[in-house]
């Protein structure tokens, strides 16, 4: 297997996924090289890693031989400004795509995240309220299948219904269906003006903003045990329009217009156990209350019904677990106040929060948890359609070698 010999090097101390060390690491620099690598690695268990901002999320792989690192697959292949699209290689940092000339890929991502990783995790942040997530902004994709064949879906135009929309299937598949090497995204114009409104207000106040005619780009809440809950709103548009809408929002919330977001904006909540919670909009306040009652700090979109909760389990491994909360700025600011309100067994707390999410018509998925806990926690909760998902996995990766065990139901 000359390709493997040429590209793969022995794994280092950091080449560990969920506590499982890899043997080899390879970083292909083109779709062709990646395809040859995947073909040559038949029989090896593979995990794909981009910027590594989410690689410690989810369950550990059942086996791990090879980490495919996408960070040499970089570069904007094309930016067609007049068509508001861009073609980028998977390892391209999202920060580059946030600052294209006069345009942007309107997907929030943590520092270091890559385009491919953002798609693989279907990530999004506060602005998902207006722009959606990766699933809504991805219009074309190139993927190396586990059998090494190069396949494309979608295209370079936003409006396109030719064939199955496989981009959606790959989006959020966490590397279990193949290796993403290239993505085509829809772009949005850089807004002429932006403004934030911040208020100390209960999450229930978010409904006022949704009912008003202010077209927020983001509507975020923050709540933590012992802290006053906050609501913050992002407005984008023309200078005059933003000024007027921000004033309306400030009046509705009893808050202040600011140029900068609050420190907790788009930051995963602290804690060594973090979850993503979803629910219908009217139940967001109840969901927040339950999570805070269980000792969690909560941030997230009250406009989209997608929240993030985090708490410390007291297992003592928070700092070293490589959790999302361990990186970035989550440890500072008002969010750091939580954690001390911890109450009881983490399993019970997860179940309590999950029950509230299910009552709210949503789900609670554990994103990060300390190693000892991860093995005994139900990370996903109920997964409707799991049998069909297994059949899809079986067709794409019959040998189960791409991220084995990292996805729902042990996929």
């Amino acid at each position: 297997m000359p390709v493997l010999d040429d590209l793969a090097v022995a794994a280092g101390d950091d080449d560990v996924v969920g506590g499982v060390p890899a043997r080899l690491v390879a970083a292909p620099a083109s779709t062709e090289e990646a395809a040859a690598l995947v073909a040559a690695s038949a029989g090896l268990a593979v995990v794909i890693r981009g910027g590594g901002t989410k690689v410690q999320q989810g369950p550990p792989p059942r086996e791990l031989d090879l980490i495919i690192d996408t960070r040499r697959l970089t570069g904007v292949v094309e930016h067609a400004a007049g068509d508001l699209i861009t073609v980028v290689r998977a390892g391209t940092p999202m920060s580059e795509l946030h600052a294209l000339p006069a345009q942007q890929l309107a997907l929030d991502a943590p520092p270091g995240a890559t385009a491919g990783g953002t798609v693989a995790a279907n990530a999004g942040g506060p602005r998902r309220l207006r722009y959606g997530t990766a699933r809504d902004l991805l219009i074309g994709i190139t993927v190396i299948r586990p059998d090494g064949l190069v396949t494309r879906a979608g295209g370079k135009v936003v409006k396109n219904v030719a064939g199955y929309d496989l981009g959606k299937l790959y989006t959020g598949s966490f590397g279990t269906l193949g290796l993403i090497t290239e993505c085509v995204f829809r772009l949005h114009p850089e807004p002429a003006a932006t403004s934030f409104v911040r208020a100390y207000a209960a999450p229930g106040h978010a409904a006022r903003i949704l009912a008003a005619q202010v077209a927020p780009s983001a509507l975020e809440v923050y709540a933590a045990p012992g802290a006053d809950p906050e609501v913050a709103v992002l407005l984008e548009g023309t200078a005059a329009g933003v000024r007027e809408r921000a004033a309306t929002v400030a009046a509705l919330l009893g808050g202040d217009v600011t140029a900068e977001p609050p420190p907790w904006w788009g930051v995963p909540p602290p804690g060594d156990l973090t979850l993503q919670l979803t629910g219908v909009l009217s139940q967001v306040p109840a969901l927040v209350a339950t999570a805070v009652g269980a000792g969690a700090t909560v941030t997230g979109s009250a406009g989209a019904g997608v929240l993030h909760a985090g708490f410390d389990t007291g297992s003592g491994s928070a700092a070293g677990s490589g959790s999302a909360a361990g990186s970035g700025s989550a440890g500072s600011g008002p969010a750091a106040r939580s954690g001390s309100a911890g109450c009881g067994d983490p399993h019970g707390r997860v179940e309590l929060i999950r029950a509230a999410a299910l009552r709210a018509g949503g789900h609670a998925v554990v994103r990060t948890a300390p190693p000892g806990l991860r093995d005994t926690l139900d990370m996903w909760g109920p997964v409707p359609g799991l049998a069909l998902m297994r059949r899809v996995k079986e067709r794409f990766d019959p040998a189960h070698r791409f991220a084995p065990g990292r996805f729902v139901g042990g996929i």
Binding site: D136, G172, W380
Partner: protein, 482 residues
């Protein structure tokens, strides 16, 4: 089991009046909106409940009989063309709005609910359903899901796939599966995303959860007349370049204006080589500023007349010309083909010129109506079937237009779907591996190839499992083409 015995058993199970086998009654369903493909199905089932759909699909699975789902039958790619030896399952009587949850920005509806009726139900609460295909007064949500329908306003708001958050689906083995739900980001693969736009080849939706969108505070509509499509195209590009995202930018060329004028007297400025309809919506403060900018851009691009809708009636009048265009063309030509291709917006002037050249070459007239904002062309290729050779020439021009779209990095269909009509063009856009990969999903859902066989994929493919079982591969050469 022969088909009569099959029908008899189905009648016993779901009711005699639900199952049609009388040839005259079956003829009603021989085509969808693409009426030159006709196939009389063996059996028609008029489902009134999810149980009816489940019972029928299970019976089909048991007997390995192909089935095709049909909503209102307005599709323009032959996606609901029946199978001669199969069952056509009509979902148009499943038309209940199950739940309206404006406070959650959701509605749960049955698949036969008419698109516009979702908006009508939600409007009193200040909400609407954003995807608005031109057929929205008659097309069904189930059909919209199958085709991932768009509409004039998807430039800003996206397509059906961006507005459906959950589905109950009867899979081809007769199981009922929930995909997605009321909340976003359901754990696991986004099978919902794969299902929307799969044209009935992965199963039948029996309940659809849609996103409701807040009605905009303001809507403003501008009609701008230009000497040429080049000028109108330049104006479109300039609007986008200015960072404005209108709700819609529509263009019509001289021939389609002539047709619309004759049909509905929409009173567009005389002598226009092209008109643009630009609609902005949103908070009043934003729309006011952007509207001035759009008007200025149109003037700069050479608009010789602009008209602003003063009220809803004037807005409807501006839109009437655009929305009537397809039907209106019927007045100036006995027959026509509605094409549906997509190009990058910036290629518009070049592609329009090339379409003109191809049309001239073949002595065929082409009227152009399209969603200029997103590069979705609807050239109407005019012909007279009574004149020998004209239909063939029109077909050639129509195919050449698709080649132009592909050559410019576009798509063979922006909203009408592949269906039976464009399956043969799929290999021009996708490699064999690309198509085989789509087929992997097909096989995961429908290993026996019973759900709407012969659509989307250019050649029948096997799933490589279950040896010895009939695959139900469908050769649509059996279709009578009129």
């Amino acid at each position: 089991m022969d088909i009569d015995a099959f029908a008899a058993r189905l009648r016993a199970e779901i009711g005699a009046d639900r199952v049609l086998t009388d040839r005259q009654q079956l003829r009603t369903y021989e085509c969808d909106g693409l009426a030159h493909y006709k196939v009389i199905p063996a059996v028609v089932v008029l489902a009134r409940s999810e149980e009816h759909v489940v019972a029928t699909v299970r019976a089909c699975a048991r007997e390995e009989i192909p089935f095709v789902a049909r909503g209102s039958g307005t599709g323009l790619s032959g996606g609901a063309l029946p199978h001669a030896d199969g069952v056509l399952i009509v979902t148009s009587q499943l038309r209940e709005v199950v739940e309206l949850r404006p406070e959650d920005e959701r509605a749960v509806v049955q698949p036969g609910v008419i698109n516009l009726n979702v908006t009508k139900a939600a409007t009193p609460y200040g909400y609407y359903y954003a995807p608005d295909p031109s057929s929205q007064q008659i097309c069904s949500i189930g059909g919209n899901v199958a085709e991932n329908s768009g509409g004039a306003h998807c430039l800003k708001y996206g397509f059906t796939t961006n507005h459906v958050t959950g589905l109950r689906v009867v899979t081809p083995d007769g199981e009922v599966v929930q995909l997605g739900g009321l909340a976003p980001d359901t754990p696991g693969y986004d099978l919902l995303g794969a299902f929307v736009g799969s044209e009935g080849t992965l199963g039948i939706a029996t309940e659809v959860t849609v996103r409701l969108t807040r009605l905009p505070e303001t809507v403003r509509t501008l009609l701008a007349a230009f000497a040429s499509t080049d000028q109108a195209g330049a104006a479109t590009s300039a609007i986008i370049a200015a960072g404005v995202v209108p709700a819609a930018i529509e263009m019509m060329d001289a021939l389609s204006i002539e047709a619309a004028e004759a049909a509905v007297h929409c009173d567009y400025p005389a002598g226009a080589g092209a008109v643009l309809i630009v609609e902005l919506d949103g908070p009043a403060a934003e729309v006011a500023a952007q509207f001035d900018e759009v008007t200025r851009i149109c003037d700069d691009a050479g608009a010789f007349a602009t008209r602003v809708a003063a009220d809803d009636a004037e807005r409807q009048l501006i839109w009437r010309g655009r929305k009537s265009a397809f039907a209106a063309v019927g007045r100036i030509s006995p027959d026509y083909i509605v094409q549906d291709g997509v190009i990058p917006r910036t290629a518009l002037p070049e592609v329009l010129r090339r379409i003109g050249e191809v049309a001239d070459q073949h002595g065929v007239r082409v009227a152009n109506v399209f969603h200029a904002g997103d590069g979705n062309l609807h050239p109407l290729v005019l012909f007279d079937d009574a004149v020998p050779g004209e239909a063939e020439r029109a077909e050639k021009v129509s195919g050449a237009i698709l080649d132009l779209c592909i050559e410019h990095g576009g798509s063979i269909t922006g909203e009408h779907g592949v269906g039976v009509d464009k399956a043969r063009y799929m290999p021009r856009m996708f490699s064999d591996t690309d198509l085989e990969t789509m087929h992997l999903v097909r096989c995961a859902f429908d290993p026996d190839n019973l759900a709407n066989p012969g659509k989307v994929f250019p050649t029948p493919r096997l799933c490589g499992e279950r040896p010895g079982r009939r695959q139900g591969a469908f050769e649509h050469e059996g279709a009578e083409v009129f």
